[in-house]
């Protein structure tokens, strides 16, 4: 037995050509696992200096000061979570609406072309969304949305020298803009996966509901959604995973100020944007680079968790 998995066909001896064949395929499979483990290991080893310097407290350190060389990850972590979750809250209802429209109410003739269009949009590189955010959305935000929000909420006093969440100088960039861009970017993705999930519901189930006199919406909420709940959540988590790790769409519009967020309007940062932005100045072997790798490690662990949940939810349905 020179390889781990159950190789022997019916416990018979194998021909050398088949042994080589199997060995090389197993090796390819092993590469996948090795890549994942080495990413984890390399990030951790590279970031070890940061963890050694600041201890586990690195994760909840709120200060980020390149001059005094004091780094804490919490501002970037908070920024990442807020933008990603906000993006999801915006994109999911719209994405679900598109999916419902495409599977139920859309005229038959339009279904395929619109469905294909959505899938094609999901393939557009994120940098295109970033550019659009930078040149179109950010100016629009600073011109119209931010002044309006600031004026509307001006009466709420900020605490200390920080901003209230909806007020800030109208410069267009910040978590809200980033979240909007992320929302637009993951929208086609969420719409496409949700549509696939809805389509996977057996027609018999729906027919059953209709036969009981249910309306289309009642069939959806009463029968379809309960039947595919896991997969729907899986699609949401996949979208979240994308939003968490997205770099280029965010870098353009987040403002890149590493401070504890106190306003959706003010410049802030996400883990990915910090890594991308500070990387050019981080010399090899310094604490500066180690901190970025440590941040990468944290991002990897978080995305791993989110994606693992997504896959488990999606697979669960696939099995049943």
């Amino acid at each position: 037995m020179n390889t781990p998995a159950p190789l022997a066909i019916g416990a018979r001896r194998m021909h050398p050509a088949d042994t080589t064949f199997r060995l090389s395929l197993h090796a390819a499979g092993a590469v996948v696992v090795i890549v994942l483990l080495s990413i984890l290991a390399i990030m951790f080893i590279g970031g070890k200096l940061a963890f050694d310097t600041f201890g586990v407290g690195f994760i909840w350190g709120t200060e980020w000061n390149p001059v005094t060389k004091i780094y804490g990850a919490l501002p970037a972590i908070t920024g990442t979570l807020i933008t990603a979750i906000l993006a999801l809250c915006i994109a999911w209802p719209i994405g679900f609406g598109i999916a419902y429209f495409l599977t139920e109410t859309c005229p038959q003739k339009l279904r395929t072309p619109l469905g294909v269009a959505i899938e094609l949009l999901a393939a557009i590189p994120s940098i295109v969304y970033g550019m659009w955010g930078f040149f179109v959305l950010a100016p629009f935000m600073s011109e119209y949305v931010q002044p309006w929000l600031t004026n509307t909420f001006l009466w709420i006093p900020p605490i200390g020298d920080s901003f209230f969440w909806f007020t800030a100088p109208p410069i267009g960039v910040g978590m809200l803009t980033a979240a909007l861009i992320l929302a637009v970017m993951i929208l086609p993705f969420i719409a496409a996966t949700t549509r696939d999930v809805l389509l996977s519901t057996p027609q018999l189930l729906k027919d059953g509901a209709y036969a009981m006199g249910a309306t289309r919406w009642e069939a959806l909420t009463g029968v379809v959604i309960p039947a595919v709940r896991g997969s729907l959540f899986g699609a949401v988590f996949l979208g979240l995973g994308r939003a968490l790790g997205e770099t280029m769409a965010v870098v353009f519009v987040i403002g890149n100020a590493i401070r504890m967020p106190d306003s959706l309007m003010a410049p802030s940062a996400t883990i990915a944007s910090v890594v991308a932005n500070n990387f050019p100045e981080a010399e090899p072997g310094t604490l500066d680079l180690a901190v970025l790798l440590a941040l990468g490690f944290i991002l990897f662990v978080v995305s791993f968790g989110v994606l693992a949940v997504a896959r488990l939810l999606l697979r669960q349905e696939r099995m049943s």
Partner: protein
């Protein structure tokens, strides 16, 4: 003769070539006048994981004739068929015990290469399964894989001969480069038979070869089977009593993994020794 050959095999861990050479020599000996036994099954027990599918099956299968396996669904007849060319090896958890002697060699022995067995014992499946390639490439698949031919011309010859023997040549000779999937169901099944014939197997196994075909295509295949038996030993699994009666010279009846009765087809269908067989044939159960 059987006895001496048997001792030879059993005395081995002998090199793999020896029993195979024996196989070839025996195969080239030519057809006998009275059909001699080609395959002898001795105490075959088959298991899928814990479940036993065959119990102590002993059977002799004669050369140059058609042997039909009949019985209700799940009686083990297909399992036994798949034992004959070691197809069960590809199913995880499947296990076959006992000896299957062909020309004196136990082809079920672990040291015998299943791949060599399958080149001598061809198989035709329930649903026609031409590969998604041209008709020519379908037939040429076996010869190419086993390097039977020495030149392109020889390969062309093999392809034509196989298609002729499968009574398909006239229908497809003008479109050999077209996909095999474009043929009708009956033609596809004959294509698959031709593909099997291209490696000149000594035995052809057929697993309900007509169950997916209409009556006319079935008649074609049955006529073909009758021609083929001149040069080969054929084993056919069938659900149709009528088919078994039409095409086979010998019949074996299975029930719940056991061989109940076997003998000349005439005798099995007209005067079976056991009541159980009688019941099945007359349709009283199964």
């Amino acid at each position: 003769m059987l006895a001496t050959m048997t001792t030879e095999t059993q005395s081995s861990n002998a090199p793999r070539a020896t029993p195979l050479q024996a196989m070839r020599v025996a195969a080239s000996a030519g057809p006998a006048i009275v059909s001699p036994t080609r395959i002898t099954l001795e105490k075959i027990n088959a298991f899928y994981d814990q479940k036993q599918a065959l119990f102590d099956v002993n059977l002799e299968i004669p050369d140059n004739s058609v042997t039909a396996f009949i019985g209700a669904s799940g009686c083990g007849k297909s399992t036994l068929l798949r034992c004959l060319n070691r197809m069960n090896d590809t199913i995880p958890g499947a296990r076959v015990e006992g000896a299957i002697r062909m020309d004196g060699t136990d082809i079920n022995a672990p040291e015998i290469d299943a791949v060599q067995v399958r080149t001598r014992i061809g198989m035709v499946f329930q649903k026609p399964n031409p590969f998604p390639m041209s008709i020519y490439d379908n037939i040429a698949y076996g010869p190419r894989a086993h390097k039977i031919h020495e030149s392109k011309a020889e390969l062309d010859e093999i392809v034509e001969k196989s298609l002729r023997r499968a009574a398909l040549w006239d229908e497809v000779k003008d479109r050999l480069n077209k996909s095999g999937l474009g043929l009708s169901g009956g033609q596809q099944q004959r294509l698959v038979i031709a593909r099997t014939l291209a490696v000149s197997p000594a035995v052809i196994l057929m697993d309900e070869p007509c169950s997916a075909l209409d009556p006319i295509a079935t008649a074609h295949i049955e006529a073909l089977i009758d021609q083929l038996r001149e040069h080969t030993c054929i084993v056919i699994v069938t659900h149709s009593m009528a088919q078994a009666a039409r095409v086979s010279q010998r019949t074996a009846f299975f029930h719940m993994g056991k061989l109940i009765e076997s003998g000349p087809t005439d005798q099995i269908f007209t005067m079976p020794k056991l009541e159980q067989t009688q019941d099945y044939i007359t349709g009283r159960f199964g």
